[in-house]
Structures are given as C-alpha cells and as structure tokens.
C-alpha cells in the first residue's frame, strides 16, 4: 500500500500496521482519513490570522485518486467561503492542484498551499467571477463580506 506508506512515513510515533487516524500536518491544519475509505480525508483548516478568514474553521474534503502521487489529490471546500479563487461549490483554483502538480508534493504541502491562498487571494486569476470583480472594484467591501461569511459559516459552532 504505497500511498499509505507515503502519508504515514513521517508520523511519530509510528502507526500500528497500515492504519492511522490522523495525518501529521502543520499548525492550523488537520486531516484524518475516513474509516470507510482510506483515500478520503476530512480536512480542517484554520483561517490564517490577519486575513478575512481569521477565526474561521474551514472544512474541506480531500481525495487521493488511484494515481496519487502521480496525480494531484482532489480537494474541495465544504464550508462556504467568500474568496475569488474558490467557487460556490468549494472548488479551488490553485495551480499545484492542476497543471503544476508534482509528485513531490504531499497532503501536508497541498493543505499549506491552500491555507496560503486564504492569506493571499488572487482576483486576477478568478474562479468565482463575481467575487473577483467585487474584490477588484471594492476590496474593502469584499473583505468585509468575506469576514461576514467567515462568522456566518465558519465559526465552528
């Protein structure tokens, strides 16, 4: 089970057998495989400080396709989020999840990139046209909306 070895390899203490319940990631990020499907992960990312998403707890799903790590994991926000690079279905516009994928990337690095995307929205490469337009025409107001959405949908309660 190469793909399991791949994501448990850096864990300490060592997992028992092939099974483990939590993937060691990074501050503000956690990922646990689902019990039914070891390729399916429940992910939580904390909104980065000094971003409109600060204080929010964002749920995502991450799926490792059979080709992983030769192909990118499929990641999607489950929590609603107001962000120019994330659409209303939670799909994420991030190059490393598409053409810039490299098999040297791991779950941890992918999730770190997504967390960084929350700190640095890029309205010039939008996935959500309306949000991006809002961001470009009136950034202060768009940031306010993003904060409201964070309160509304990602307050963790």
């Amino acid at each position: 089970m190469v793909f399991i070895v791949r994501y448990v390899v850096r864990l300490k203490p060592k997992p028992v057998g092939d099974f483990l319940l939590c993937v060691g990631t990074a501050p503000g990020i956690s990922a646990s495989p689902s019990e039914e499907n070891m390729r399916y992960f429940n992910v939580m990312i904390l909104g980065p400080s000094q971003s409109p998403y600060e204080g929010g707890v964002f749920k995502l799903e991450l799926f490792l396709p059979e080709e992983y790590p030769m192909a990118a994991p499929k990641v999607r926000f489950l929590t609603k989020i107001y962000h120019p690079n994330i659409d209303k279905l939670g799909r994420i516009c991030l190059d490393i999840l598409k053409d810039k994928w490299s098999p040297a990337l791991q779950i941890r690095t992918v999730l770190l990139s997504i967390q960084a995307l929350l700190s640095a929205p890029n309205p010039d490469d939008p996935l959500s046209e309306n949000v991006a337009k809002h961001w470009k025409t009136n950034e202060a107001e768009a940031v306010e909306t993003a904060k409201e959405w964070t309160q509304l949908y990602a307050s963790g309660t």
Binding site: V2, R10, E66, M70
Partner: protein, 349 residues
C-alpha cells in the same frame, strides 16, 4: 450489473490504466504507450553501460556525474571515492525498459581543485600583480599549470592566446587532502593589462577562458589491469581542468568565478556537474525515519536516481519508471526530463 461495470470503465477515460508501482508491463507494451516523447527502444542490460547519451551541455562529449558534494567545499572525494577499477558491477536489476535510464559510471579522479576556494590575491611584494590560491585534494603527486586566456584544443590541451604577455606557470604539488595552494610571490600577473570586459566572460565559443588551472597527476600509482594491456597508458595523463572568469568588484578587488570543471581521464573528456541532493543519499546508511534520504515520490525507498538535465537527485529507480510514463517532469523543478541516471553510492568504495 453489466452496464454498471462498463460505465465505471468509461468514467475515467482520461487516465492511463496505470501500470502502477507493482506491476510493470513488459517493455514492448510500454513502448506502445501513447507517450508524447520519442518512442523508447528496449535495450539489453549490460553491466558496462553505453556512453551516456546525455549531451545537452556539450554535444559529442560524454559527461560525468561528479561525486563530490555540491555545496560543501569539504565534501571532497574523500568519503565516497570509487575504486580504481572504473566500472563497478551493479547489483542485478530487472532490465530497464528505457534507453534513457542509465547507470552511472564511476571514474576515479586523482586531483580535485575545490572550485569554491579559488581566489585571486594581491602579491604583497608586488602590488600590481595577482596570485592564484585555492584548496585541493590530491591522491597522487602532480603539477598545476596556471594559464591566462587559454584556448582549449583537441585532446583537452590548452594553449595561451597571448604567450608573450603571460606564459603559463607550472607548479608541482604533492599528494594530500585539503591542501592550500598559494602561488609564490613574483610569479603573478598584472591583470590591468587586460580589459575588464574580456576578463569577465569566456569567448563566444566558450573555448577560451580568462583563467584556466590545469591539475595534472603523474602516472597512476596503481596501474589497473586495463593499462597493462594498453600499449600507451602513460601517454594519456589524468587531468582536472578548472575554467574560470574574473570579475572586478569595487570592494574586494578581483573575484574568480568558476565556469566549469573538466576531467580528462584515459582519453575521455568529462564535464563535472553537480548533482543536487546527492550529499544525503547514501543508500546503506538509510533509515526509515531519516528525512531527506528517501525518494520524494514514494517516501519509502532510498533515492538513487538523478533527473537530467536539471540534476535533481530525488527519486528511486522504481518511481523513475512510473514518472516517465506519467508526467515526465522533474518532481522538484518541473523541468522536462531527458534522462534518468541511477547512482549507487557505496561508502565502502
């Protein structure tokens, strides 16, 4: 039920039916893959690999995988010296399906100038003149020759362009590791004679360099079996050539930048290139919890394969074969891959 299974097959048309890590297909099948790259021809594995076909830097000449650490001046040859016999017998491997998966050939280098240590210093008794200094390792006695504006001719011979202005100086050295060479006072050169522009770059064809240091060893101390059969072993000395440019810096005076290093061994010219990541790849000291030594793809096997032309040593040979079918880009830098080179490092060597 029948329809659902055929549906499943159709759902995923964009992916190859991936051979995956455990089930490599026979090479003929691999060759028929709709690979966008030139169709690879299977080749018979031989412990004596064909000369590397990797020539993007220097067409027509074989390149060498250097065995000294890229970042550390002390990395040297000392720890990982290959044996005098140049081609080790690699452990038996399944036949690699691609021509461009090469086994590294090891050659022995008897003298190594640490390229990061090369300096030009003012001759204190003769302030207009500059002297060369550097650190080097030598397994055998030999001599250095310092050239200014030397042109490379065939068979790795160097000739000064302006012999009347600066004739090459020859200095003997003795064997020893980590020695410092300082050119004796009075033998230096007045760099003011040259245009700064000429000093700062090689000639357009890159055959003339402002500073060339040729390190030549005497006859090999241990004659190899091959050399007994060779009618003229001594006619082909072992040399390491360091080609550099000289840049003027307002604060520190003249600075030397090494452009390339060449090995001339048994009539073959090798170009020394650094392999990134080779310094923490030694396979036999591999431990499971030792980060940085494992293949970046499977995170399981020790890395033993470098990617060319970008020279990132980052994967294991098994993942190299999978990678070839999938993306053909270096996992570290995403440059297209021309070739893999498997490098077995043996501390015992």
């Amino acid at each position: 039920m029948g329809t659902s299974s055929s549906n499943r097959r159709n759902q995923n048309p964009s992916y190859y039916q991936n051979p995956h890590h455990h089930q490599p297909l026979p090479s003929q099948q691999l060759a028929s893959y709709s690979d966008p790259y030139p169709a690879p021809t299977p080749f018979a594995y031989s412990p004596h690999p064909p000369p590397p076909i990797y020539n993007s830097y220097n067409p027509g000449r074989p390149n060498l995988v250097p065995y000294y650490g890229p970042y550390h001046n002390h990395g040297g040859w000392a720890g990982i010296r290959p044996p005098p016999v140049s081609v080790p017998q690699p452990p038996p491997l399944p036949p690699p399906p691609y021509v461009d998966h090469q086994q590294a050939k090891k050659v022995r280098n008897d003298v190594n100038v640490h390229k990061g240590t090369l300096r030009l210093e003012v001759d204190e008794f003769n302030p207009d003149h500059h002297l060369v200094s550097f650190v080097f390792d030598a397994m055998i006695d030999g001599s250095f020759t310092i050239f200014y504006f030397a042109k490379e001719e065939s068979n790795c011979r160097f000739f000064p362009l302006y012999p009347e202005v600066c004739e090459p100086f020859k200095f003997p050295f003795q064997k020893g590791v980590g020695q410092k060479f300082s050119q004796p006072s009075g033998t230096g050169i007045d760099l003011g004679f040259f245009e700064l522009d000429d000093l700062s770059k090689p000639s357009a064809k890159e055959d003339v360099f402002p500073l060339v240091i040729s390190a030549e060893t005497c006859l090999p101390s241990v004659p190899t079996k091959g050399s007994l059969d060779d009618p003229s072993p001594s006619s082909s000395p072992h040399m390491q050539i360091t080609q550099a440019v000289i840049q003027k810096n307002d604060q520190t005076g003249f600075q030397v930048k090494v452009f390339k290093q060449i090995l001339w061994i048994d009539g073959i010219r090798y170009e020394l290139r650094e392999i990134f990541g080779i310094e923490n790849s030694a396979a036999e000291s591999f431990k499971d919890d030792d980060p940085g030594k494992e293949c970046v793809i499977c995170l399981t096997e020790p890395k033993d394969t470098a990617v060319l032309p970008c020279r990132h040593m980052c994967i294991c040979s098994e993942c190299a074969q999978t990678l070839r079918l999938q993306s053909n880009k270096c996992p570290i830098c995403r440059q297209p891959i021309d070739e893999f080179i498997e490098i077995k490092i043996n501390k015992a060597d």
